[in-house]
């Protein structure tokens, strides 16, 4: 049998049920796409560009980028040891620790905000000691970062942990018998092998911090320039100017898409599953 010149031989086609699946998936896919399309249609590009120069938008965007970057850095620096602990150790109370780090996922962010106030507020469990030294956390930019860390940390820990768990323990044993002390082993073998999950986890945490609203509202308030991040600015603008609200929403959508696409790209390149 002869093949046409230039035709690449390809894998045999599997008989699939694609048509049926597409039909069954259509309702939810359309439902998810509808609001996004409505939002994009509402912001005519020229208007959007004009609204972007609105000082409220600029201020909110700058604050959001600053706080979410700090929050993500904190998640990575303080979250890595926790992820390692959960990935490697079998110890008493592991389940408890696991639940604790998952809790912010299930907790309404507003409740998280209340809890943060009760801990770090002026009369709070820890906050009252800060008060004596003149340190006040609530309704500051620090409070915004803290709220974001509280809500976003589980996303980093979960993803990084999955990557760390996938590192073959024999490679780590080999490195140790070759003379690598634990910390050096971590930075020369474990972390490079899990880097895809760590980076993907950081991007997911960043995306979650970008959308943080409830806890920030409770714990940090909505002060333009100090604590009013994009989601809070949207809320505030809705009361006065729908166009500004939509412009801010457009910016948020863009940032979220960027974070997710990056996370997926990187994890595909480094072979991370489940992102």
């Amino acid at each position: 049998m002869q093949f046409d010149a230039g035709t690449e031989p390809s894998a045999p086609q599997r008989r699939d049920r694609a048509t049926g699946l597409w039909l069954a998936s259509a309702p939810l896919l359309l439902y998810l796409a509808c609001p996004i399309v409505a939002l994009i249609l509402f912001l005519r590009p020229s208007d959007w560009w004009r609204h972007l120069h609105d000082p409220t938008v600029g201020m909110a965007l700058a604050l959001t980028l600053r706080t979410t970057t700090l929050a993500t850095a904190a998640c990575v620096i303080f979250g890595l040891p926790v992820a390692c602990l959960l990935a490697r150790g079998t110890f008493r109370g592991r389940e408890l620790l696991d639940t604790l780090t998952d809790l912010p996922l299930a907790l309404p962010p507003v409740v998280a905000g209340v809890a943060l106030l009760l801990a770090f507020g002026r009369q709070g469990l820890i906050g009252r000691y800060g008060e004596t030294f003149g340190v006040r956390i609530p309704f500051t930019t620090l409070a915004v970062v803290m709220a974001q860390v509280f809500i976003a940390a589980p996303f980093f820990i979960k993803t990084a942990r999955a990557g760390l768990e996938a590192v073959d323990p024999r490679l780590e044993e080999a490195a140790r018998t070759l003379g690598a002390p634990p910390l050096r082993l971590f930075f020369t073998v474990t972390l490079p092998l899990a880097r895809g999950s760590v980076v993907a986890g950081a991007l997911l945490a960043w995306a979650r911090a970008l959308s943080e609203f409830g806890a920030t509202m409770m714990f940090a308030g909505s002060l333009p320039g100090t604590t009013q991040t994009l989601p809070l600015a949207v809320m505030s603008a809705m009361e006065t100017n729908l166009d500004t609200a939509v412009a801010l929403s457009g910016v948020s959508l863009l940032l979220a898409l960027t974070a997710l696409i990056l996370a997926k790209r990187l994890s595909r390149r480094w072979g991370v599953a489940g992102v």
Binding site: R170, R176, T177, P181
Partner: protein
């Protein structure tokens, strides 16, 4: 390789739910000891105790004058401080590093500068005929290449003892011979004590100076591979060495000595051994035929074929004559026999081929 030669001395015990391990032996500097035994006998566990990957319950492990582990003195050096290199069954190379970087990694950990480590790595790769692989990625290597690189990486860490855990078992027959050759050359001029876990009697014969048999966590026999083959004292060693072995009572007899096994009577040349003893002979010394053999062979029995399997150019037939006897025969000889399970054959062994020892 300028360090002073040091002995590896092991006297240790570990109690596990499935195993009670107790080992007490030394490996001299430059000596290679093969550790053999059935699966689950604790061979790998023992290596991991020495490397510091497991903790023993009691005893002392020392390397030269350095104590690696001692419960009395409360010493427990972490693996990275022991200078004991471990080559695993699966090579455990770092997939994120190139071949050269894998080898340089351990040289770096031994305290060399980046430049010196890279040079050393190249030197070790050359020693194992793998210098052309330097820039390759680990997943692109064959099994044999990986194991050479793993050995080069172990040697580059400047170890004071070397542990090899079935380094050839994942390789195919041809590659195995080739890699074994490379290891043999390396071990011959390594001044460090080496412990090699292997299932393959050929490895033990080819690479080791001495064989230690570990069964159910205990050392049951030790000696050179030749000595073990000549005088197996237990089912595992007999099987490992490919010998027929029977526990017997030496009886009287004129001329030849009567040896009573549980189910058969053998005749051996007169000797000094009395009472309980072992009797062994090689499967190649057994002849099979379809009728009684003429001549003076006193060791001749009717029997039934139990099973048979091909060993390549020969055939291994197990025959039941009251005890089970394994016979290795040529395909030509097999052609004249009723070779089917249950088929009746005559089996003979020359008295001169039979060894009797306490």
């Amino acid at each position: 390789m300028k360090e002073k030669s040091k002995n590896l001395s092991i006297n240790t015990a570990l109690r596990l739910p499935s195993l009670e391990l107790a080992a007490d032996f030394h490996v001299a500097a430059g000596e290679t000891v093969a550790l053999v035994g059935p699966s689950g006998a604790g061979k790998t566990t023992l290596l991991r105790l020495i490397a510091g990957l497991y903790r023993p319950d009691r005893g002392v492990i020392s390397l030269g004058s350095r104590v690696l582990w001692s419960v009395e003195r409360g010493i427990d050096l972490p693996p990275e401080a022991r200078r004991v290199a471990y080559v695993f069954q699966e090579p455990a190379l770092f997939p994120h590093l190139s071949v050269a970087a894998n080898v340089a990694y351990s040289a770096r950990m031994a305290g060399l500068s980046r430049r010196d480590a890279a040079r050393q790595a190249m030197g070790w790769l050359e020693r194992f005929g793998a210098e052309a692989l330097g820039n390759r990625r680990i997943p692109s290597l064959s099994g044999g290449q990986k194991q050479r690189v793993a050995l080069a990486r172990a040697m580059a860490s400047q170890p004071e003892a070397l542990l090899l855990d079935e380094p050839f078992s994942a390789l195919d027959v041809n590659t195995r011979a080739e890699v074994r050759q490379a290891f043999s050359a390396a071990l011959a001029d390594t001044p460090v004590p080496t412990l090699l876990v292997t299932h393959d009697p050929l490895d033990a014969r080819f690479l080791s100076d001495r064989v230690i048999v570990l069964e159910a966590g205990q050392v049951t026999q030790e000696g050179t591979a030749e000595a073990l083959t000549a005088h197996p004292r237990g089912a595992f060693v007999a099987h490992w060495a490919g010998m027929n072995l029977y526990h017997i009572r030496v009886g009287g007899g004129e001329g030849l000595q009567e040896c009573v096994a549980d189910g058969a009577l053998f005749h051996a040349l007169p000797g000094v051994v009395r009472g309980e003893a072992y009797l062994s002979f090689a499967p190649e010394e057994v002849t099979l035929s379809d009728a009684p053999m003429s001549g003076s062979a006193q060791n001749q029995w009717p029997g039934r074929v139990v099973e048979f399997a091909s060993l390549g150019d020969r055939l291994r037939v197990t025959v039941d004559i009251g005890v089970r006897v394994r016979a290795d025969i040529t395909h030509e000889a097999a052609g004249r026999l009723p070779l089917a399970p249950g088929g009746s054959v005559w089996l003979a062994v020359k008295a001169t081929a039979i060894r009797v020892y306490p």
